[in-house]
Subunit: 306 residues, 2 copies
């Protein structure tokens, strides 16, 4: 049994009020894969990179026990590159450069030894590629989680709606939930989105936590109040990776486990934003994660007796 | 032992996307008093009204067991009047009319039988009047909670800072915490505000819940996701009333009880916004409150075992 993650592996160049990076490793599959690797041992990536992507960077993923057989290396190609500048509030950003490069013609290959996939994360990517990946798995996974963003709602809504019909969990942010449903109230938005395919909906609200809807229940996960958000890049991907990594570990899909999975996802995301790019996710320890989970418990626990 | 609340008793006229009211009863002391009355039996108000304020309206407060001896009725005077229009997002509003009327010369009187006050809520009002009330109590109450808003930071910051030195708990919203501290990060804002007098700080984030800082701890209370917010007027006051009402009931001030108090405050606020003005708060039952508290528990409870 394995957890398969499809998404971008990329170079990012990031500016925040705290500083500026050269080209560093980024991409949805990178963040999600690294986050998941702390919770589950059999993580496999599907992605595409160019010849410019250094062996060191690929070895970084392998050193986390991540299988990269499904990562195509395009001869003479250049890796996807994104550059952005965050504003002072760290909630908004300008995209400075987007070079699709090898991502433009990405045709996902599912290696034979990925066919044991029971947990599938369709990371943020074109809905067509997400759909192709799903259709190339011979057996439907036990759980399919889809992460997406407003960009795909703007340019490929029909394709997105088609793939939504095939997934179990959708993770989007509050503005995206409003855009997808046409409803301002998140409760009403969730009701509509849950008729579009997913059985569960996670609405990510950044510093305001996350909401889980499904099974006629609602769960409100807090976000850890941080003195400083250093670099938000990859937070959503780390969240998704931590979420599905926890579910693969416990290997039982129900609302209670999803609640815990959201706490783990939030914890991994909270590490992610403390440094540039994947810097935090490169060297976490299980003890650090345990302590962070303890902080989430302390943060939200109360006991009311009648 | 009593819970004393000072604040406005007013007429409001409200427009929301759902409808429009004539002059209805409002004001910080009204909402806070009614909310508190469901949790604690000995609630006493200090306020001022004009002759235009109907007996029926005052009897509404008395019918909740609220003592109104400290509510001055100014002969020939007109009650404070506020009129506002909420935008579609229900988070922003335009003030259409503010008539201070009898509030302009309000000099709070503390009746003798209010001197048993152990819990004091200084509701949203000029800091000078909040300070005068505090100084007219012969014994310092066990707990003083202050609610305020950005308006007083704009026009009376020095007076506000003076009264802050004398209170135990401050409740403000996120933007106000940023304004008061000069820090964008709420964690840093809290650190600064906790040096200004209050031992505890509650940052209200509306639909995103509330944060409690103090005793080197943090608590994140969720807000109940509502399909519709009908009228947000009085939500903050109901929150403050529910908060201090619970603490008066349990009569032990510590961080754990404050966490529960925030859940009760949030529950009372969630009722408040479901109808216009005080309509919801007029006729709650203990069963409804118990059920609502149960929803908050279900909303935020998770159990992670290692």
């Amino acid at each position: 049994m394995s957890l398969v993650i499809i998404g971008t592996i990329a170079y990012d160049a990031i500016e925040t009020p705290f500083g500026k990076t050269e080209k560093i490793v980024g991409g949805a599959a990178t963040f999600a894969g690294m986050a998941a690797s702390y919770l589950y041992s059999d993580v496999k990536l599907i992605s595409v990179i160019g010849e410019d992507f250094g062996d060191d960077n690929l070895n970084l993923l392998k050193s986390k026990g991540i299988d990269t057989e499904g990562v195509q290396i395009i001869e003479g190609g250049k890796s996807f590159f994104w550059s952005g500048r965050y504003h002072n509030d760290m909630n908004t950003r300008d995209t400075l450069v987007t070079e699709l490069n090898v991502l433009a013609d990405f045709d996902p290959v599912v290696p034979d030894n990925y066919q044991d996939c029971e947990y599938l994360l369709l990371g943020n990517l074109t809905p067509q590629v997400q759909m192709a990946t799903l259709s190339r798995l011979k057996t439907k996974p036990k759980l399919v989680v889809l992460d997406t963003m407003n960009f795909w709602m703007d340019v490929a809504m029909d394709d997105l709606k088609a793939v939504l019909k095939k997934v179990d969990v959708l993770t989007i942010n509050d503005e995206e939930a409003r855009q997808l449903s046409g409803e301002y109230s998140l409760v009403k938005a969730a009701q509509i989105i849950l008729t579009m395919g997913p059985k569960y909906l996670i609405i990510k609200k950044g510093e305001h936590g996350a909401l889980l809807f499904g099974d006629d229940q609602v769960f409100y996960a807090p976000a850890l109040p941080l003195a400083e958000v250093f670099d938000p890049t990859g937070a959503g991907d780390s969240f998704a990776g931590g979420f599905i990594g926890y579910l693969a570990k416990v290997n039982t899909v129900n609302f209670n486990n999803m609640k815990n999975a959201i706490i783990y996802g939030s914890a991994l995301a909270s590490f992610c934003v403390e440094r540039f790019g994947t810097e935090s996710l490169q060297c976490l320890t299980q003890d650090q994660i345990r302590l962070r989970i303890g902080q989430f418990i302390a943060l939200s626990k109360f006991e009311i007796s009648e």
